[in-house]
């Protein structure tokens, strides 16, 4: 237990520095990319664009929050992409049918949101029971659920790509909230609250930028709550413990089976929120709403430093990961880079992220041994 041979001080300092660098590389990388695109991409450096990136990142971000919990327990949830779609479809259909049936918009919307969130929990509960109690590997269980939820979402749209025929009044309210902002920045005139002000000259209107878009506010609240649960509560502690050593957790009296059910319910829940937000942002419910975002959510989690082997990871990392993907996509579009290059660049970033995280782990061991 005594300290072993003392290493030279210089190498210890270097290791500490390298360690710090490896730990915070995702933040540095995000900053570097923002700087790069700001210099090279015309129009990238603007409040409007940053606001747009934030809104775009909410979908992947919300999914990555739940995915972080799952991955910390050494699992993976492949079904949440279609859960997003299912939630958006359920919300859209419920609101449409209730509104068409004569109900006021506001209660119809609230009921639609509630039902969508409830329905989104179903695949989570089934995933959790299969994985926690029946011990089916997460990859297989959620892959099966991937297909089931996909089919269910398309059944609800009668095979169509979107839920059609939303009443105009409903559409307007959805758009006002989904594309709205708590605060708008008006160039040269300060800020406006809740709505874009009327009667501005056209050249000013073009410059009006949403400072706090509602989807971003909702996502930020979800981020804070889930980061708190993971970092500060007993539930979060047990999540890490199960990922680090499930057998030890079991023997320590943690109810591992039930905990895993909750983990997959949480994952489905954040996907459900993402689905509802999708409806508000695009004023349509679509089964394939989260299809592309699924693997991006896994990428965001990994880029953020969460280990696929379990036991490691943070919500803040997932947020940074989602932002990196959002900045990359927007930046490459502004630079007029062909969309296919996005896939290649994001792919490289994922692999580099895993390499850096492995390096960081070995650096930590090295540092504690000197």
């Amino acid at each position: 237990m005594a300290t072993t041979a003392a290493a030279p001080t210089r190498s210890r300092t270097t290791t500490t520095l390298l360690n710090l660098l490896a730990r915070s590389w995702a933040y540095l990388f995000l900053i570097a990319m923002v700087l790069f695109f700001s210099i090279t991409g015309p129009g990238f450096f603007s409040v409007n664009n940053f606001s747009n990136i934030l809104v775009t990142s909410t979908l992947v971000g919300l999914m990555a929050i739940g995915q972080t919990y799952v991955v910390i327990t050494a699992g993976i949830d492949l079904s949440i992409g279609w859960t997003v779609g299912l939630a958006s479809v359920v919300a859209a259909r419920t609101m449409r049918d209730l509104a068409n049936g004569g109900m006021d918009i506001a209660p119809a919307m609230l009921l639609g949101i509630a039902l969508a969130l409830l329905v989104s929990l179903i695949p989570g509960v089934i995933n959790g029971l299969l994985i926690g109690r029946v011990r089916i590997p997460p990859f297989i269980a959620t892959l099966g659920m991937f297909g089931i939820v996909r089919g269910a979402a398309f059944l609800l749209t009668d095979g169509q790509q979107v839920v059609g025929q939303l009443p105009d009044a409903l559409r307007d309210v959805l758009r006002a909230l989904g594309s709205g902002s708590l605060v708008y920045l008006i160039p040269g005139q300060g800020v406006a609250w809740l709505a874009r002000p009327d009667g501005l000259p056209p050249e000013v209107i073009r410059g009006v930028a949403p400072l706090l878009p509602y989807p971003v506010i909702i996502t930020a609240i979800v981020v804070l709550i889930f980061a708190f649960i993971l970092g500060r509560t007993r539930f979060g502690r047990h999540t890490y413990a199960i990922g680090g050593n499930p057998e030890a957790s079991l023997r320590a009296g943690i109810n591992v089976k039930n905990h895993l059910v909750w983990i997959y319910v949480l994952s489905a829940f954040t996907a459900g929120i993402a689905g509802v937000l999708y409806l508000f942002r695009f004023t349509s419910g679509a089964p394939q709403a989260g299809e592309a975002a699924l693997l991006q959510s896994v990428a965001a989690v990994v880029i953020g430093g969460t280990s696929l082997f379990g036991g490691e990871g943070r919500i803040s990392g997932a947020v940074i990961g989602a932002l990196i993907i959002g900045v990359l996509q927007t930046g490459l579009v502004i630079l007029n880079v062909d969309a296919v290059w996005q896939f290649i660049v994001v792919g490289i970033v994922i692999i580099v992220a895993v390499l850096v995280n492995q390096l960081q782990a070995s650096l930590e061991r090295l540092r504690s041994n000197v």
């Binding site: 237990m1 509560t233 890490y240 680090g244 057998e247 030890a248 957790s249 079991l250 320590a252 009296g253």
Partner: protein, 251 residues
């Protein structure tokens, strides 16, 4: 003799067609160190897992302090005062020392008077206290266990068992992965527990350890108790003969 603290009566356990425990009777008295010996596959681990609640026995009864604990969960068993230190230590190596000592029994505090959160400072402080009591030194309790040595991890596992004022501590090969000074330390800890009237079940392949600290020796063979004798009078030769099964043959 005083009444037994732990009493296993006719405990059986099978896995499919494999009979791991066959009508095992086993008792531990207060303040007694019982060595549980046997070859690999003799049923030692299955027996302690039945005692600690990881396995549910298929037959028989286990009482602890007069209370029937047969088939209780690991959590309930710990609450009743049985702590188990497994060979693989059963620690979450991605967590720090305090979190491990309190694993599954986290100390909570409330923020804003309502929201329960883990009280990490308190847990580290208490962990430090019990490590001091055992004269174990770990530089920083904020270290995650993955960065500690094998001996330090063993110390954390023992500290965890002792912190919860266990009346019975089960140790599975506690010295196997340790250097000689750390082995001595563990044996001292076992004596310390006995002096505080804590019972110990010690599973070990190291007969040297057993001869030093055990009060009684129970030898298992093929899922049954092959011998049960006081340490005094036992020799390594007798023990080995019981373990390999030549004792009955020899009469």
């Amino acid at each position: 003799m005083s009444e037994a603290l732990l009493q296993c009566s006719a405990v059986s356990k099978h896995f499919g067609g494999l009979i791991a425990l066959n009508q095992v009777d086993f008792a531990v008295h207060p303040g007694e160190v019982v060595a549980l010996l046997g070859d690999n596959g003799a049923g030692k681990s299955t027996l302690i897992k039945c005692i600690s609640g990881v396995h549910r026995p298929d037959g028989g009864q286990i009482t602890f302090g007069g209370v029937d604990i047969t088939g209780n969960s690991p959590a309930v068993t710990r609450e009743q005062g049985i702590e188990t230190i497994y060979q693989d230590l059963a620690l979450a190596e991605n967590l720090d020392v305090g979190a491990n000592v309190f694993l599954g029994k986290e100390k909570l505090k409330r923020v804003f008077g309502v929201i329960p959160v883990t009280d990490d400072d308190y847990m580290r402080q208490q962990a430090q206290g019990v490590l001091d009591r055992l004269d174990i030194h770990i530089p920083s309790l904020k270290q995650r266990l993955v960065n500690l040595s094998g001996g330090q991890r063993q110390a954390v596992a023992i500290a965890r068992a002792i912190y919860w004022n266990a009346r019975l501590v089960v140790m599975d090969e506690p010295t196997a992965a340790l250097g000689v000074p750390e082995q001595r330390k563990v044996l001292d800890l076992i004596r310390l527990l006995r002096s505080q009237n804590v019972s110990v079940i010690l599973i070990s392949h190291t007969l040297h350890d057993v001869m030093q600290v055990a009060d009684r020796i129970v030898i298992m063979r093929r899922g049954k108790v092959a011998a049960n004798m006081p340490r005094e009078g036992a020799t390594e030769e007798i023990i080995v003969r019981h373990m390999v099964g030549t004792a009955e043959a020899a009469g």
